[in-house]
C-alpha cells in the first residue's frame, strides 16, 4: 500500500563513456558543431583558470569557479536558440557566453562594477542570481509569458543541487506543471553545496525523480558527457516548444575547485574524491571522442589553447577598460524616474554628505 522510494530505479543517461567512446547513437551534431562545442569548453576552462588568478591578484572580487561543469553548461546552452531565455545562477559564465553574452560581462560582475549585471541588449538572459533558487520562479514567469504571447520560446534555468532544497524550486515546478509551461529546470548536481554533500542535501536517490512530485518528466544524465547533455536538453526543448510542458534535467557533474575563492574545500572533502572525478573530466572526454573521429590532434589542441589565452587576454583587457561606474549613476536605476528624495540625496552625495 505504501509507495516505496526504494522501488524506484533511475538509470543515468550516457552517450560517451569516460574513454570518449559512444555507448549509443550520438545526437545529430555535425563536425563543425562538435568542434564549436569543444572550443567553447576549452576557452571556458581557460577563462576559469585565469579568473582564479585574477582573484588572487586582487583584480576581481569573490569568484565562483565552474571547472568540471563545462559539459553540463555548454551542452545545455547549445541546445537553445538565441531567442530563448536563460536564467543563470552565479556559476554560469560559460552558459551565458554560449547564449550570446560576451565573456567580459561575467568578469565585470565579479569586479563589482555598477554595470556588472547589465547584459547587452539582445541577450535573452537574466543576470547572475545570488539568491539560491530565486531564478526558479522567474523562469516559470518567463515561460508563462511565452505561453501568453505564443512565441514558442523556451525558458531554461540553471540550479545547483543545493537549490532543489529551496521552497521556490518546489513552488515553481508545481506552477509550471499545472500551467504546462515551456520551462526547463536544469540542475547541475555537482555533488556539493558549499560544504554540504549531495547525500545530506536530500533524502531522494536522485534529483531527476523529484519531477514525479509534479507530474514533470525528469531525467538523470551524465553531466560530464556533453553529447548526452545536449541530447536530453534538445528533447526537453522540443517538448517545451510543442506545448507539452516543463522538464527537469539532473546533470551529474562535479565542481573541481572550491565553492568560491573564499572557500577552503579541504575542510570538507578529500583529495581522493577530487582526483577520482578528474578521470571523468568533460573536456578530456570530448577530446578523446574528437580524436577518435580523427578531427582532432595534439597540434590543434595546442593551437586552441593558444587561441584561448589570447581570447581571455582580450576579455580581461576589455573588462578592465570599462569605467567602473559611479554611485551617483546608480541613482538613476532605482526607479524609472528618481524620486524627489533620491534627487535630494544625489545632490548631497555630490556635495559630500
Amino acid at each position: 500500500m505504501w509507495i516505496n522510494p526504494e522501488d524506484l530505479t533511475v538509470t543515468q543517461w550516457q552517450v560517451l563513456n569516460e574513454a570518449g567512446e559512444l555507448v549509443r547513437e550520438a545526437p545529430s551534431l555535425g563536425h563543425r558543431q562538435l568542434l564549436e562545442v569543444y572550443r567553447y569548453m576549452v576557452i571556458a576552462r581557460a577563462y576559469d583558470e585565469r579568473a582564479m588568478r585574477l582573484q588572487r591578484q586582487g583584480r576581481i572580487g569573490t569568484y565562483a569557479p565552474f571547472s568540471g561543469q563545462e559539459a553540463a553548461q555548454i551542452g545545455s546552452a547549445y541546445a537553445l536558440e538565441r531567442s530563448d531565455w536563460m536564467f543563470p545562477s552565479y556559476r554560469e559564465a560559460p552558459a551565458l557566453w554560449v547564449h550570446g553574452a560576451p565573456l567580459e560581462y561575467s568578469l565585470l560582475y565579479t569586479m563589482g562594477h555598477v554595470f556588472g549585471a547589465r547584459l547587452p541588449e539582445g541577450v535573452h538572459a537574466f543576470p547572475v542570481q545570488i539568491i539560491i533558487a530565486g531564478q526558479a520562479t522567474h523562469v516559470m514567469g518567463s515561460a508563462w509569458a511565452s505561453t501568453y504571447l505564443e512565441d514558442k520560446r523556451v525558458s531554461l534555468c540553471y540550479l545547483g543541487d543545493g537549490a532543489t532544497s529551496q521552497g521556490d524550486f518546489h513552488e515553481s515546478l508545481n506552477f509550471a506543471s499545472v500551467l504546462k509551461l515551456p520551462a526547463i529546470y536544469f540542475i547541475q548536481n555537482n555533488q556539493w553545496a558549499i560544504s554540504l554533500p549531495r547525500s545530506h542535501q536530500t533524502g531522494s536517490a536522485t534529483f531527476a525523480q523529484k519531477g514525479l512530485a509534479y507530474g514533470i518528466p525528469g531525467v538523470q544524465v551524465d553531466g560530464n558527457d556533453v553529447l548526452a547533455v545536449y541530447q536530453v536538453t534538445m528533447e526537453a526543448v522540443r517538448r517545451a516548444r510543442e506545448g507539452k510542458g516543463p522538464s527537469l534535467i539532473e546533470a551529474v557533474t562535479y565542481r573541481n575547485g572550491p565553492h568560491t575563492t573564499s572557500d577552503d574545500p579541504n575542510r570538507y572533502r578529500s583529495q581522493a574524491e577530487v582526483e577520482s572525478w578528474k578521470q571523468k573530466d568533460p573536456i578530456v572526454r570530448l577530446r578523446r571522442y574528437l580524436t577518435g573521429l580523427q578531427i582532432w590532434d595534439d597540434e590543434r589542441e595546442q593551437a586552441l589553447w593558444q587561441e584561448a589565452a589570447q581570447v581571455i587576454e582580450q576579455v580581461v583587457a576589455k573588462a578592465e577598460g570599462v569605467p567602473k561606474g559611479t554611485l551617483a549613476e546608480s541613482f538613476d536605476y532605482v526607479y524609472a524616474t528618481p524620486t524627489p528624495r533620491l534627487q535630494e540625496q544625489w545632490a548631497t552625495l555630490e556635495r559630500g554628505r
Binding site: P127, T137, Y148, S330
Partner: protein, 327 residues
Amino acid sequence: MPLMNMVEAINSALRLEMERDPSMLIIGEDVGRAGGVFRVTDGLQAQFGNRRVVDTPLAESAIVGAAVGLAARGLRPVAEVQFLGFIYETMDQMASQAARMRFRTAGRIHLPMVVRSPYGGGVRTPELHSDSLEGLFVHTPGIKVVMPSSPYDAKGLLLSAIRDPDPVLYLEPMRLYRAFKEEVPDGEYTVELGKAKVVAEGDDLTLITWGAAAPVATAAAAEWRDKQGGSVEVIDLRTVAPMDEEAIVRSVAKTGRVLIVHEAVKSGGVGAEVAALVSEKCMLSLLAPILRVTGYDTPYPAFAVEEDWLPNKQRIFKAMQELLSYR
C-alpha cells in the same frame, strides 16, 4: 457620475485597463472563478477568459516570482496576495528580486508589475488577516507603495500603478471596501503616484494619515473642528513610497504641530519616517512634540479586542488636545 464603493472602483480600474492593454493579466489565488475572496476581481475572468485572469496554485512566493518573469518579458501582471499578512512569504521575491531588478541590471530589465493586497483591521478576521505592513516596503528602495482611502483615489491610483514602469505594492483597506460610495467616473483617469491629498485645510495642526486610518482621522478632525472650533489640516499621503515630502513640509511650516495617525504598529512604522522627516526639515516651525496615534507595539490582537487596539477618535482627540495645549 456613478456612485461606487471601493471594491467597485478597483474592479472598474482593472476592467478598463484589461480592455485597453492586452499585455495586462491578473494572477493569484481565487481571483478567477470565485472573483477573489472579496469579489474585487468579480466578472473579470468571465469577460477576459482564463488566459488573462488566472487562478494559481497556493504559493505566494511563486505568484510574485512569476510576476517578475512575466513583467521582464514585457507583460503587465497584476498579482494578488490574498491578505497582506501573507506578504511575508513573498519578501524575497518582493525585496531581493522585484525591487532590485532595475538597479541590478542598471536599467536593462525593469518590471512593470503590481501586487495588490487587502489589509487592515476592524473586520473581525482571524489572525494575520489584519496586519498593516507598509513599513517593510518603505524601507525597500525600488518598490512603490500605494494606499488609497477612497473609491475615487483607489481607481485613479490603481490605473497609475498598473501603468507605472516599476513594481508597485497596492494596498486595499478591507474595512473601506464597502464602507461608503462616492462619485467615481465610469471611464479612465489617473491619480498621480507620490502626491498627497489635502483632505481638509487648517492652520493649527497637521494631521498626517493614509489608507485604512484616513477616514477615522479625517472624521475625528472634522468633529474636532465642529466641537472645538480649532482648524486641523488633514493630509492623506495616498502613496507612502515615495512620500510627498513637499506637501508635509508645506503644511507643517504653516501649523507647527504634527499628529501622525496610522494603523500599523508604532515602532519602526511609516509614522516614524514622517516624524523623522519633519524633525529634519521643519525644525524652526515646530511648536510641539510630534505625536503618533497608531497600533500598539504588539502583534495585531484577537478580534475580540481589536477596536481597542486600532487608532480611534478618542485617542486622536487626546493627542490633538495635547498638541494644541502644548506651549
